[in-house]
Symmetry: C2
Subunit: 212 residues, 2 copies
C-alpha cells in the first residue's frame, strides 16, 4: 500500500520557514533576513543537480548520495498535498513546469478549477478538508506514495490524524530564532517513530524516521 510521507528541511531550532517569509514580503528577502535564512536552511538542496534541473536553475550541481535521495523522493511520489500558503508562494515562484510532476491536492477554501501545468503537474483545489484530500491523493497515487509537502500546519494536521508513515527531515545547522515551527499545537496522542536511517553530510543531517 502507498506510504504517506513528509520530506522537509528544518532548522536546528525547529523551524520550517523563517520569520518574514510570507507573500507580503516575497519581493524583499532582506526583510527580517528571510532570504538569507532560507538560503542557509536549503543550501544543501540548492546545489544538487536533480533539484537544479527540476527547478530550472540551470545545469551542473552535485550528483552524489544526496542527489540520489532527491531523485528517489520524486520518483516514489504519486501525489502531493499542499497547504494554501505554500501553494500561493509557489504559484509566483515555480517555473511553468511546476516541480511536482504529479497530481497536487491543495487544501484551501478557494473554489477553483484544476490547474494543469506542463510536465505532469495538475493542481486540484480541495475545499472539504485534510481527510478528503488524502483520499483523493491515495486514489491518484496508485502504487506510488503520497507526499505531505507542507507547510507546517498541514503536516501537523496529518500527524494528528495518525496517518504519516515516514518523516524525512534534513536538519540544517542554522538557528532562526523565530518563524514557523514544524512541531507545534500537536495533540498528546501523536504517533511515535523510530530512527530508520541517518545520512551525515556537512550541510545537513538527513534523518529518516518510520512509524514505531
Amino acid at each position: 500500500m502507498s506510504k504517506v510521507f513528509v520530506n522537509i528541511g528544518l532548522s536546528l531550532d525547529g523551524y520550517m520557514a523563517p520569520e518574514g517569509m510570507s507573500l507580503e514580503h516575497w519581493a524583499t528577502p532582506e526583510y527580517e533576513s528571510w532570504g538569507a535564512k532560507w538560503g542557509a536552511l536549503m543550501g544543501w538542496v540548492l546545489k544538487q543537480q536533480y533539484f537544479r534541473e527540476n527547478l530550472k536553475f540551470g545545469p551542473g550541481g552535485e550528483t552524489g548520495q544526496v542527489n540520489d535521495m532527491l531523485r528517489h523522493t520524486m520518483q516514489r511520489s504519486g501525489a502531493n498535498i499542499l497547504g494554501k500558503r505554500m501553494f500561493e508562494q509557489g504559484e509566483i515562484s515555480w517555473p511553468d513546469e511546476a516541480p511536482f510532476h504529479t497530481p497536487v491536492f491543495v487544501l484551501t477554501h478557494e473554489k477553483r478549477e484544476p490547474w494543469v501545468r506542463p510536465g505532469g503537474t495538475t493542481f486540484y483545489f480541495v475545499n472539504d478538508g485534510a481527510e478528503r484530500a488524502l483520499e483523493q491523493a491515495r486514489a491518484a497515487a496508485g502504487d506510488r506514495d503520497i507526499r505531505i509537502s507542507g507547510g507546517a500546519n498541514v503536516i501537523q494536521q496529518y500527524l494528528d490524524m495518525g496517518v504519516v508513515d515516514e518523516l524525512e527531515i534534513a536538519l540544517a545547522p542554522v538557528l532562526f530564532g523565530s518563524g514557523r515551527r514544524l512541531f507545534e499545537n500537536q495533540q498528546a496522542s501523536m504517533p511515535q517513530f523510530r530512527i530508520d536511517k541517518v545520512v551525515d553530510t556537512p550541510d545537513a543531517t538527513h534523518l529518516r524516521y518510520v512509524r514505531a
Copy 2:
C-alpha cells in the same frame, strides 16, 4: 582556553523535558505520562555502563561508543552551571555522590552556603546572574571545559550571550507534543553553528555542533 558546551537529550519535536515534569508532580510520573516520556527521551543513556555507575543505578550496561562519549563528557568538564529548577529536581533525586564531580554553579535567587557533597561535587549558589556564574565557572574549571547543564532557560541565556562554543544534542525519536523547549525566546542575533560530528545509533542521533 576552556570551551563552553551544552550536552543534552532532546525530543524530535524539540523538548528537553515533557509537560508535567516538575517538583509538584515528581512523585507521580504517571501525571501527563511524564515518566514514560522522560524514559523514552533518556533511554539511550540509562543503559550505559558509565551513567549507571555514576548515578548508582547498579552494575552492568553498555560499554561502546556512546559510553565512551559519556565518559569523555564527564572527564572534560571542570565546572557545571545549572538552573534553579534543575537543581531542585536533582536535590531530591541524585545519590549522595551527586553526579557532577566538579564545582557546580546554580543560578538562583536563594542565598545559601556552598553545599559540599562526597565525590567532588560542591554546589555554589550564584545570586548575581548568568555572566557572573560563568566567570566563576571559568575560574573553577582551570584547563577543563564548562558545561551548561540546563535547564532550557539557562541554556537559552548562554546562547543569547553568544558564549556557547559547542552544542551536543542526543536527538531521541520521540514526540512529546508539549513541554519545555530547548529553543525558545531566542534573540535574533544568535551565534551560528556548523555540524562537527554525527553518531548514529538506534536509540538516539548524537549531533555535535561547533561555532561556525
